[in-house]
């Protein structure tokens, strides 16, 4: 056996001394997680119960992820809004909801930071904490780079930038039973949860913050609780002071015993986010213009999707780009993958090479029944539905494709037939009304 993609695991362990660790590192290794290098951190790939069980836990009960390798930046001051409006891809005046409300304290929004040439620096969620105070959460190791970028564009404006990387604990609880688990550990959970809509948050992780009182654990610890995540399923991201981080992790696992809540590693996170159609930064989006991809919702289009409603760094490059090249989602007919580092290329049905494969994973919770894809989370799935999984991901090609177009993915081992799609895993729970996800009588 030769392990092409797993081969890096052994090398990573030799580099261990140079890699960063989160506060949960000892917990992960005590639980005998398979660890790997991700964004300069030594992170769990999966735990002994296996990635398949972890993936299923998030689709049917709940799973928790250590995401404290991610970076957070505080953007503060009278000119903070102007700076973000200039640098971030969403229009903060119109980015909330179908009615296009402005971002306001307690709301957050997903978008990207671009260079002038339209290339992606990183994707991010921007949280508005107060009138002149924002938190920007980006990928691991990106805190200092984004601060440099923002500082370069801040000029002499009244903005203070603070890097909270490694000074904050962050974990995600994702899955349909997430709210029921949190009910067991929060103080006054009905008040905290019952109106917490998708992409809203409350509370704060610093005791001295005015908002800190609004979300507390039962032991009084303040947290910032956000109705967001990166799996496509219902759930939350939680920010907490690092010294309470491991306690919270164990508290959630204990509270979730009855619901079979599982700790989940990066492999399950990767297969879940791909099935949800979400990009991995620096793999599906990166040093090429952020346009003609499945993520136009991250751009400041007007309601008709025809023009941008603001100017921002990178907009001119995107608008003047005149190329048929683009990025598309795909889904296969069985679970077999190609390996992207092999490398894997994209062929038309006639065998003409048109691009490369950016991501190729198996979403183990879905399968085809006749001509339709069901998820284990689908309410109308067939009674005897036992998914074996489907290969899915993203391709970058030099020609225009349409949904339903067949393409072939080829690596050194095999060729697999897949189809271009605008949706991989159906019936995802991320946007389900929170009242339906809480215990009966708790809202």
């Amino acid at each position: 056996m030769t392990c092409l993609s797993a081969a890096s695991i052994g090398e990573d362990l030799q580099e261990q001394r140079e890699l960063k660790k989160t506060r949960l590192y000892n917990w992960h290794t005590t639980q005998r997680a398979n660890m790997a290098n991700f964004g300069d951190y030594l992170m769990p790939l999966w735990y002994p119960s296996g990635v398949r069980n972890e993936h299923f836990a998030v689709l049917t009960s709940a799973g928790i992820f250590d995401t404290s390798h991610m970076a957070a930046i505080i953007v503060e001051g009278a000119d903070a809004f102007d700076l973000l409006q200039r640098c971030f891809s969403k229009d903060l005046r119109t980015c909330v909801g179908k009615n296009r409300h402005a971002l306001s304290p307690g709301k957050c929004v997903y978008g990207v930071f671009l260079k002038e040439e339209g290339d992606v620096i990183d994707d991010a969620i921007v949280y508005q904490l107060h009138r002149h105070l924002y938190m920007v959460v980006v990928n691991s190791g990106m805190g200092s780079e984004l601060i440099l970028h923002l500082a370069a564009h801040a000029g002499d404006g009244n903005v203070k930038l603070t890097d909270l990387s490694d000074r904050l604990g962050k974990m995600d609880i994702q899955g349909p039973l997430s709210a029921r688990v949190l009910e067991k550990i929060l103080e006054d959970p009905e008040t905290v949860l019952s109106d917490l809509g998708y992409f809203t948050f409350r509370g704060h992780f610093e005791k001295r913050s005015l908002a800190a009182g609004s979300v507390r654990l039962q032991d009084g610890t303040p947290i910032l609780l956000s109705r967001t995540g990166y799996t496509g399923e219902f759930g939350f991201e939680i920010f907490i002071q690092p010294d309470r981080f491991v306690d919270l992790w164990e508290m959630i696992l204990n509270a979730g015993t009855d619901y079979e809540v599982k700790p989940c590693g990066l492999a399950a996170r990767d297969s879940l986010r791909t099935g949800a159609g979400l990009p991995l930064s620096h793999q599906d989006i990166g040093p090429w213009p952020f346009i003609k991809n499945p993520w136009h919702f991250a751009l400041p289009f007007n309601a008709d999707q025809t023009v941008f409603t603001k100017h921002f760094i990178g907009d001119k490059a995107l608008l003047k780009l005149n190329t048929p090249a683009g990025t598309y989602g795909f889904v296969g007919y069985d679970l077999r993958k190609v390996l992207i580092h092999d490398p894997a290329v994209v062929l038309t049905a006639d065998g003409v090479q048109i691009g490369v494969v950016l991501t190729c994973v198996t979403d183990m919770g879905i399968d085809r029944v006749e001509n339709r894809i069901y998820s284990v989370g689908s309410l109308d799935k067939p009674d005897d539905f036992k998914p074996r999984g489907l290969c899915c991901g993203f391709v970058k090609v030099n020609t225009k494709l349409n949904y339903g177009d067949p393409i072939v993915l080829k690596d050194q081992r095999r060729e697999i037939k897949v189809v271009i799609t605008n949706g991989i895993r159906p019936d995802r729970s991320a946007r389900f009304p929170i009242k339906e996800m809480m215990s009966p009588g708790k809202h």
């Binding site: 056996m1 392990c3 797993a6 790939l45 999966w46 993936h55 074996r388």
Partner: protein, 132 residues
């Protein structure tokens, strides 16, 4: 991930550097993947095996094993004819993780040249290779 000390390498088997195990049963040998390999791969979700009756030479690929994170080739520890394949793995690939040395066996070979068996590693030598 298991420490090497926790992994099991039965002393009555032989091993390859590419992590296959070999059990001699009379005139033929059974082949599977070692405990170390299954632990590194994680959940095995799919296995491609050869047809019964095929003859494949030593070191050539006889199939692939696909886990959630990796796709890996399987290599013939000795050349010979495939006389049986474990078709249970088609529906239950997880047996490679659960029982790598018993229910997770993959193919049975009738060696063309039994002398090739002498070149395989015993469990101690394999363990030493893993420790590097």
């Amino acid at each position: 991930m298991k420490d090497i000390g926790e992994l099991i390498f039965p002393a009555d088997l032989q091993y390859t550097e590419s992590h296959e195990w070999i059990r001699t049963e009379g005139e033929s040998v059974k082949v599977g993947l070692s405990d170390y390999a299954q632990d590194q791969l994680g959940d095995v979700v799919f296995i491609e095996l050869p047809e019964i009756g095929e003859s494949i030479s030593r070191g050539a690929e006889f199939g692939t094993v696909e886990s959630v994170k990796a796709v890996s080739d399987l290599y013939m520890p000795v050349g010979g004819e495939i006389v049986a394949v474990n078709s249970t793995l088609e529906a239950s690939p997880e047996l490679v993780n659960k029982s790598p040395y018993t229910d997770g066996w993959m193919i049975e070979i009738r060696p063309a040249n039994p002398d090739e068996l002498d070149d395989l590693l015993n469990s101690n030598a394999y363990l030493e290779k893993l420790k590097g």
